[in-house]
Every structure is written in C-alpha cells, then in structure tokens.
C-alpha cells in the first residue's frame, strides 16, 4: 500500500504543478514509512519540503499555501502527533471556505498513519478518527488496499476541500497488489461493498477490514453469509449503501479499532436506528476497541478487535434475531 501512496503523489505532482508535499522527514528520507519515497529527487526541494518539527506549523502553513492557490499534501508522522495541529484544522482549515463565503479555500490533504498492530512505541498507534469526523467541513477517508489507497488519495488531492487521509499502519506492507499508475481516482463519500452476503451486514474501515473479511470467511464456513462494507469515507458517511445492505440482510455489526464511546460506529448505528430500524431482525452490535488508552504493544492485540470477537458478535446477532 505504501508504494501505491507514493505513486499517487507522483502522478498528481507530475500532472498538477499546484501540488506540493510538506511534512517531517518527507524529503530525503521519503517519509518514515516511505510514503513520499523518491518525490523530492523527482520534484525538487521546493515542492517536496521537510518542515521544522512542528505539527501546528505543518497544518497552519498548509492553510496559508492553500489559500494562495497551492494544493498541499501534508504528512503528520503518526496520528498521535496530530493534536497540536487540531487548532489549525478545526478553527481554520475546516471552515475557511465557509467563513469567507468561498473566497479562500483549503484544498489540503492531511495524511497520517492510523491505528496499531505494528509494535510501535507509545502514542504511535492511535485511532482517533472520531475527533476529525465530528468537525463540520472536513472529509475523513481511509483506504484498505493498495488500489484504493492510490485511487482515494488521488481523489482526496483533487477534492476542493480538506481531506483527512488516515492510512492504516498495519496495512502499509500487509498485502501486494498490482496497481496501474493511470491517474484514475476513486469516488469519495462512497462506501465499497467488498463482499456480498444476505444474512448480516458488517461495516468496518481502516485496518479492521482485514479481520472483518477473515471473520466473514469463517462465518461462511458456518453457513452465515456476511456482506462486508468498507466505509472508505468515514465522514460524511455513505448512509445509503449501509441502509440498502441492512434492508437486505436485516442485521448490522459494526467493527472498529477505535474506542467504542462516541465512535464512528455509534453514528452508523444511529443512522440505521433512525432510518432503517424496521428492517432490523436483531439489535445492532458494535465490536470495538475498549474505552481505555491504547496499551503499549504487549497488549495491543488484545485491544484491537480479533476475528474471534467479530465472529462471536455475529453469531450472537444471528441467534438474537426475531
């Protein structure tokens, strides 16, 4: 996936001179995960700039550049380092278009590794997408395969509004897939049905898609036919795809790595409760991280929902059906 991300940067920088890349160690080092590998050699140190080590500055400078006509793609090294930048993102980036009545805009992509599972140090494994999804004026997007990383990142860069692009850390090098470098974007604001099924709808995003697909495969062996939806855009949520699926299956299990309390899963559950309640044959269930601090890595696999937890939740949901 990480090569696909670098490739998408390269395509767009080649075809749009307004695109610039900024962040910590994105230049000579190509990013700590190599997501900007080779870009500085190709496009020069002006368009691919290492910034001083200051996240508020990365976001604030991106806003200034964007308001004056550039399209910055900014890397925050880990999602746990995002917080100093939130002032800029929430108070300015998300609302510059709105408060100037469209005079100044922020076509910015803020990329950041999201989630745990790679034995990283403290503060390097956070899943705090809820903080961003709650902010009006932001799009929050997360890819789950190399092809979707390529296509969604292109879409995010081309989008005229700020996009928070959450890259699942443990998928960076999890799978290999041939991705044609053809400049084709995938749609934002649209969920992807990765597996069709008739008995239960599983909605997930980010790295948890891997466990969710594995759970679906195990459930199939047990005779339960699960539909798997990759949310892809976490905000705004593609409610139609979820509601259509629930209308078909009558059951909904939401899988998220983030803490359960006020998570994106809660919003999805609320949408289905408001607009799809009578389609349900069983209560909605959430499989989520615990409402605790993300532990250091010895326990991280006990925090991140396991395939077993997902399978159990689905079995209970099916058993509880009316």
């Amino acid at each position: 996936m990480v090569e696909a991300i670098a490739m998408a940067h390269g395509w767009e920088m080649q075809h749009d001179p307004a695109v610039v890349v900024i962040g910590e160690d994105v230049g000579a080092n190509g990013g700590v995960f190599r997501a900007t590998q080779g870009l500085q050699q190709r496009f020069g140190a002006e368009r691919v700039q290492d910034t001083p080590l200051a996240e508020a500055a990365i976001a604030g400078v991106a806003i200034g550049m964007a308001a004056q006509g550039l399209k910055p793609v900014a890397e925050i090294q880990f999602m746990g380092f995002l917080y100093p930048a939130l002032d800029q993102i929430i108070n300015h980036m998300s609302r510059m278009r709105h408060r100037t009545r469209g005079r100044l805009t922020c076509p910015i992509v803020m990329r950041m590794p999201h989630g745990g599972g790679i034995h990283a140090p403290e503060h390097h494994s956070e899943s705090v997408e809820t903080l961003l999804c709650h902010v009006p004026g932001l799009r929050v997007v997360s890819p789950t395969s190399p092809a979707r990383a390529y296509g969604l990142l292109l879409a995010a860069i081309r989008d005229p509004d700020p996009v928070m692009f959450l890259e699942p850390t443990r998928l960076y090098r999890a799978s290999r897939q041939e991705v044609p470098d053809d400049g084709r974007a995938l749609p934002l604001d649209q969920a992807f049905v990765l597996r069709e099924g008739s008995d239960v709808t599983l909605v997930s995003w980010g790295a948890m898609i891997a466990e969710t697909l594995q759970a679906a495969a195990e459930l199939a062996d047990a005779g339960i036919d699960a539909e798997v939806i990759d949310l892809a855009t976490l905000s705004p949520v593609d409610a139609a795809t979820i509601l259509d699926s629930v209308a078909k299956t009558g059951r909904l299990v939401i899988v998220q790595e983030a803490a359960r309390n006020v998570g994106v899963g809660a919003e999805i559950a609320a949408i289905v409760a408001e607009d799809g309640l009578f389609d349900l044959l069983a209560p909605i269930r959430r499989v989520a991280g615990y409402d605790t601090v993300m532990p250091l890595y010895r326990l991280e696999r006990d925090y991140i929902p396991s395939v077993r937890r997902i399978v159990d939740a689905v079995r209970s949901t099916v058993a509880d059906s009316r």
């Binding site: 610039v20 002006e46 368009r47 700039q49 910034t51 001083p52 200051a54 508020a56 500055a57 976001a59 604030g60 400078v61 991106a62 806003i63 200034g64 550049m65 964007a66 308001a67 004056q68 006509g69 550039l70 100093p84 002032d87 800029q88 108070n91 300015h92 510059m96 278009r97 709105h98 408060r99 100037t100 009545r101 469209g102 005079r103 100044l104 805009t105 009006p136 004026g137 799009r139 989008d159 005229p160 509004d161 604001d189 705004p236 949520v237 409610a239 139609a240």
Partner: protein, 359 residues
C-alpha cells in the same frame, strides 16, 4: 566561557509626540500629499471605529474590538504594503484593512454577525479576521511559502498582539519563516494589554522584538504611534523579504486607548491616569501637529475632513443596516464545494424550522 552570540534591539522613531521630525525623514514623509493621504486614512479609521462602538452600544452591532489608538500602526503597515501582498490580520486591524480596500460595510457585516463581511470585495487574497490567537501567523508563513515556490515578488504580513506572542503558533511561525527565509513580515502590535494582562505579566522578555532572536531573524522596535517610523520599518522589512532576505519581526509600541472589546470594561484592571498619560502620546495628534507645522493643515481642513469621513461612514452604516438577514441556507452554503447528501437534508430541515427560534 566565551561569548557565542550577543544581541541588541534597536528602536526607531521619526516623529516625536509634538510632531517634530526625529533624524532624517524617509522620502514618503517629505511628500505632503502622501502624508495627507495617510492622515486622512487614520482619521477615517478613528471616526469609523467610534461609530462602530456607538452602533454596538445602541444594539445595532455585535461585540466589536475597537482600534482606538492603533491608527498609526495600522496605516503605517497598510501604506508599506503593495496591493498584491497579503495581510493576515488579528481582529483589530481595521485601519490596515480599510487602507487595503476592505469596505466599512464588510467590517460592519462581520461584526454584525454575518459571514458575508469576510468576503472582501477589495483585497481578495487577504486572510479574514482571525480570532484564535496567533494562528494567523502560520497562514502568513504558508502564503509566503506559496509565493516563494511560485517565484512571485509578493510578501505576506501577519499582525499579532502582545498577548499573542505567548502562543506556540507564534514561535512556530517565526521559526519556519526563518528556516526557509520566507518573504513574510510579522508585526507585533504591542498595545500594552492582553485584555487585562499587561505585557510585564506576559513575559520576562524586556522587548517583544527580541523574540526574533531565537528564530534567527531580525527584530526591531518602532514607536507604534509614529506613522513614519512604522511605515519606514515595515517598508524596509518588506523590501528585504521581497529581495529574498527573509522575514523580519517588527514590534510596534502603541496603546489600546479603548476597552479590549465592547464586552470589556478596562477600568476594572487599569487606572484612568495610565490611559490619560497614553492619550497624550496618541498618533493622530502628533501627525496633525506635524502637518500644522508644515503649514499643510488647519482647523477648517480638519473640519472638512471629519465631515467627509462622517458622510462616507453614514452611507456605509445605512448600507449595512439595510442588508437583508441571510437565509438559513447560509449556514450550509460554502461548507463544502459539494454539500454531502445528508447535510443537504439538514439544509431543507433548517428552512422548514427557520424563524422558530429566539432572536
């Protein structure tokens, strides 16, 4: 121990409180028409400011941040900038904004609770008013980075208050601007008070100009009630920046003669004596004295100028008061270039519920 580095902070004054020239005046100050133009703008800023406060007091404007006493700093900055430069202001830079073509109607609309006031018809690339303290300094740095990348001979100017220099964003902005030699000028409008906290309680630093030292960029003080000194210093900083010489920090020492905003009562935390002392140093008086000494100004001309200002202000106020209240759609317009489906549904619901709330 050996000394690795030493620093000093210089202070510039060109016009003393009695309106006498100090040292050699810059060329623009020797051009009477140009000085009259700037004096006219300072006078308009003050008259408009007074009117805005009155509108708030009579319930016709929301909370407003007065710029009383800042006119020399504001117009000095404005006159030093080129039209194609961009300004990233705080919420008090009325004078600079008027100079740059933001209209009085727009200023009133903004403080009157209407986002249309931020859609400047004049300086289209200028940043809007910035309420979150010091955050605008990074926008100016980013704008400067854009100009540098595109090799455009343009500069950004950020203003910031004395209290703002305590914020992290301010240091991040100075640092990144220095590290990348960005064409940006930071002007600290040191008016002595961050609401109720005086500068001495804000920092142990003797000057705010010296905050530049740690970022490796030049910093200097100017008399912020001295129109000529402000313009000269900011002009020099802009020309250096435009020529690739990097950023400068200018600390303009002035005084907030008003309350912090119309929601504030400064008598709770500072003495009338202090304000009276500061009033003796205020900027319009000394500019007028300069003009009078040069035989370019008298009571008749002053009266005519004030009448002219009042006329244009009254017209703008009437225009502002006649502006129709926006529809509820304004909450949703411009949130995104393309409003997501589920928010479109809320836009329709808001129309249905419009007018059902309080006032």
């Amino acid at each position: 121990m050996r000394t690795v580095i030493e620093f000093r902070v210089e202070s510039l004054q060109r016009l003393d409180p009695d309106g006498n020239a100090v040292g050699e005046l810059p060329a623009f100050a020797l051009d009477p028409d140009e000085v009259l133009r700037m004096y006219g703008a300072m006078t308009l800023a003050r008259a408009f400011d007074t009117k805005a406060v009155n509108l708030q007091r009579t319930g016709q404007l929301g909370t407003y941040a007065s710029c009383l006493g800042h006119e020399a700093t504001h117009i000095g900055i404005g006159a030093a900038m080129r039209a194609e430069d961009v300004l990233a202001p705080v919420y008090r830079e009325v004078g600079t904004q008027l100079w740059r073509g933001v209209t009085m109607r727009e200023i009133l609309l903004y403080w009157g609770g209407d986002e249309r006031g931020n859609d400047f018809s004049g300086p289209r690339a200028d940043f809007p008013w910035c309420v979150p303290i010091a955050t605008q300094t990074l926008h100016a740095a980013g704008a400067a980075m854009a100009f540098k990348i595109r090799h455009e001979p343009r500069c950004a100017v950020a203003t910031i208050g004395d209290g703002g220099t305590s914020e992290g964003a301010f240091y991040e902005a100075l640092n990144v601007a220095g590290a990348r030699a960005l064409p940006v000028v930071f002007v600290v409008v040191n008016n002595g008070w961050a609401i109720s906290v005086p500068v001495a309680a804000q920092t142990a630093a003797r000057t705010l100009a010296q905050k530049a030292i740690a970022a490796g960029i030049p910093g200097l003080q100017v008399d912020g009630n001295d129109l000529f000194a402000v313009r000269e210093a900011v002009s020099a900083a802009l020309e250096r920046a435009r020529g690739g010489g990097g950023p400068t920090l200018v600390e303009a020492l002035t005084y907030r003669l008003s309350d912090h905003t119309t929601a504030d009562d400064a008598s709770r935390y500072r003495s009338a004596r202090e304000v009276d002392d500061a009033r003796a140093l205020e900027p319009l008086l000394r500019t007028r004295r300069f003009l009078e000494k040069a035989d370019r100004w008298n009571a008749d001309r002053e009266r005519a100028l004030l009448e002219e200002c009042a006329g244009s202000i009254d017209a703008a106020v009437a225009d502002y008061l006649a502006a129709p209240r926006p529809s509820t759609d304004a909450m949703f317009d411009h949130l995104f270039a393309n409003l997501p489906e589920r928010i479109r549904e809320q836009r329709i619901a808001a129309r249905r519920h419009a007018g059902t709330g309080g006032h």
